[in-house]
Amino acid sequence: MKEKPVTPELAREHGLSPAEYGTVLGILGRTPSLTELGIFSVMWSEHCSYKSSRIHLKKFPTKGPRVLQGPGENAGIVDIGDGLAVVFKMESHNHPSFIEPYQGAATGVGGILRDVFTMGARPIASLNSLRFGRPDHPRTRYLVSGVVSGIAGYGNCIGVPTVGGEVSFDECYDGNILVNVFTLGVVRHERIWLGTAAGVGNPVIYVGSKTGRDGIHGATMASGEFDEKSEEKRPTVQVGDPFTEKLLLEACLELMRTDAIVGIQDMGAAGLTSSSFEMASRGGTGFLMDLDRVPQREEGMTPYELMLSESQERMLIVAKKGREGEVREIFEKWDLDVSVIGEVTGDGIGRVRWRGKMVAEIPIAALTDQAPVYDRPAERPEGQDALQRLDPAGLPAPSDLGETWVRLMGGPELSDRKWVYRQYDHMIRTNTLILPGSDAAVLRIKGTRKGIALSVDCNSRYCCLDPFVGGMIAVCEAARNVACSGAEPIGLSDCLNFGNPEKPEVMWQFRSAIDGMAKACEVLGVPVVSGNVSFYNETMGKGIHPTPAVAMVGLLEDASKRRVQWFSTDGDLILLAGEDRLGVHLGGSLYLKEVHGRVAGTPPPVDLAHEKRLQEFLREAASADLVASAHDLAEGGFACALAESCISGPGSAMGARVLNPFPEATRPDFAMFSECQGAVLLSCAPANRDALLDLARRFRITMMELGVVGGEHVDIEGLARVGAAELRMAWSEGFAAALGLEG
């Protein structure tokens, strides 16, 4: 069989620019083989190389006293004391999920799980952040059903609970949905493994599923825009096998209890290529691999296909010489393929042999060091000023505020997500103390008193209107959710979903969002330890809202101090912390979008110093047992936060009678639905009132006493009064109804 000759045209078809191809020729000093071209093309793809984002990502604070491993490995690691650490990362699987929602989402879950257990940690919880197009778009129902069942199908089978997440809808995602998945694992410090290839002569071992032709060039697909022919890319979507991954998980953890290995990495995007080259790059070594020894699912696979396949559930291991037998024994016990396919070498060259012939010979340092890095031009979009213009006084006031309130609570954004999370096993492993449905999920760490709080957040309307402020808000809200549950944020992972970075306006959004996020992280003292960038979320030239999803990890030293967002006891007092943060802010609000059909204005202002004090106050109030519940004001403003605290608990809906916290002259609809940053609704037993107010004064947090829990109605004096049961019914049935799904 004659191999296709490599030409500049073929290089361009592989996504390499003429300049990039010139660098390849310079590195090799000759024309690359087809296999080598494939290797350069995936390693230098946007997805694997971060060539457009790298210089901006450096702005994130990534260090801290708890950080054991920052970005650059398979996942980040943060110390939680007692010799334990949490390992976590979020990653996108947007493009494949749009083309084939079930398998795209499922393999996203599979990939992020491998990123975590490849470091020696047992995964204990997953989250996801999902964005779909308009609820009534003809494809949305299909995509929602497929993505949710794909996440469920994979996560439930492997036995890792999916404990929280977010689902949001906007027409900007009609042609580009977002599927971001997050997993957290727990590991003892001495059991942490890294993806490194060290020790000349050590064997390189392939374990897991056989290699097939699925997913070839998936990383390249994730590095280009969609067009009307995207459906034709279905064959580039991989197919997941959660059963095999479960075996792989148990086998790897069993192997890691021995000291037979040196390094291990999963074969994710760009499969065998990225795992081998990245491990050797970290170890400062080289390798020689024999592709004939790779377990293969199909006959007649070429070296190009073997190196680029993204078949799932595979790992690459570098073991200690002479310990191959132990590795083999464990993987054979779990009925998995295991094959020594090469060895570590000392000359810094990655060599790939096939049928006795050398098909690739690439200097590894050059491949990584000379990888393209772009400082792409950035420019504020022309239309940004127009977008930020908003004259609230010109908005017509709704005739019936109660009806508007019920409509928002039962609408696609705020309604109960039970239809979704009921399909996820969220209880397995028996650690989930706060189930999905509160601001943050809380899990216990067995054998300790500790708890881990998890939340994922992003308001992409805010990011569209002002990416800098929107980026700050994404970090603040995620941290505030965790603080409401009583935990201290100790690290975050992010998924930066944007449009085409070659467009200066997109690059401006990206740069601004990162600046905002970095600033919030610095003030709040939260390091970014892992994450992922997803560009090219565009179809036919139309991009998504900038959507930097933030997954926040919080630590509770004592899990019994956890708090939920809902009221629990009639007669408890209702208070508003951060009352001075209220104001008429309709820019980017849910009310403006759902009721007036507009996304305009500027997001509510942020005060980071106040935010930090507020969160410290919330933790202190929880740990001193002064509050019964805490829930932050977010989408839908004061009225919707109050309704959520009344109706989102596991018991029956609770009523409440409260004052209007806004000045009397404020327009009623603005008082109810204005959004703000830094206000939290609390409930407490009457006996704790004085101590709670004292505590707030100590942290310089303003407090307003609003009213009492109880009764049949949720009643905001002078504004609106609706039956708690009516709100609850609209809220609990709204999601399926909005999408036309069966309840």
């Binding site: 199908g153 089978c157 959660p242 059963f243 095999t244 479960k246 399909q423 969220h426 397995i428």
Partner: protein, 233 residues
């Protein structure tokens, strides 16, 4: 007194069952790999939930062929207590140790939620001291939990007192709305004629501690310990 927690490829509630037995109830427990063909030295057997062999064929259809299932059959024939939970129940059905079959939930979706169960008989080792009519709050988590059997089998199960749990509402009423999966006659759990083999879709090991939302599941394991204690006395 020692409990075996079976581990098949794809079992995933094995650690939860072990934790509930060993750390909550305080009874000795050991994992038993599916390739073992003896259960000597064990006093009770737990077949935990999961997705054995990925449920790629029918749930439990592959696991029933594992060597350990021969030992389970002999153990059950000798009157030893066996509980199959979720996928474990499906394995017991496939192995013919209990009658009937499981089909996909009538919603065609996986369901994870707390449900209520109405106890039907206290004659199994796991329900001793849980009188008929007791209401328990226990979670389910399954895709194929829709119990199916022909009318004659269903009637015979009822006549012989083999229906151990039915789905019910919080007040104990057995209603259509409280049935999470479409199971025939709201059946959530059944036992063998001798009563010593129990299969149930809900997960008692997930609610053995109040901190997890219910401790009702612990009652089944406590009952088992008491039953074993009486037997050896």
């Amino acid at each position: 007194m020692k409990t075996a927690v079976l581990v098949f490829p794809g079992s995933n509630c094995d650690h939860d069952a072990y934790h509930a037995l060993k750390h909550v109830v305080g009874v000795d427990a050991d994992f038993v790999w599916h390739k073992r063909s003896s259960l000597d030295g064990f006093d009770a057997v737990v077949i935990p939930g999961g997705f054995t062999y990925g449920d790629y064929l029918r749930s439990g259809a592959m696991a029933k062929l594992s060597p350990v299932m021969g030992a389970v059959r002999r153990f059950a024939e000798g009157g030893g207590p066996v509980i199959g939970i979720c996928n474990g129940f499906q394995i017991l059905l496939e192995a013919g140790l209990l009658p009937g079959a499981m089909i996909v939930n009538n919603s065609l979706r996986f369901v994870c939620d707390f449900v209520h169960l109405r106890a039907g008989t206290d004659r199994t080792p796991f329900t001793r001291g849980i009188p008929e009519g007791t209401i328990l709050k226990i979670p389910v988590a399954h895709y194929q939990g829709n119990y199916f059997a022909d009318e004659r089998t269903l009637s015979s199960l009822e006549e012989r007192g083999q229906v151990v749990f039915r789905y019910c509402d919080p007040a104990g009423e057995v209603t259509r709305e409280s049935n999470p999966n479409g199971s025939a006659r709201n059946i959530a759990g059944i036992c063998s004629e001798g009563g010593n083999v129990l299969g149930m879709m809900p997960h008692p090991e997930r609610c053995a501690e109040e901190v997890l939302g219910s401790a009702d599941g612990r009652r089944l394991f406590d009952a088992m310990v008491a039953w074993l204690g009486e037997r050896s006395a």
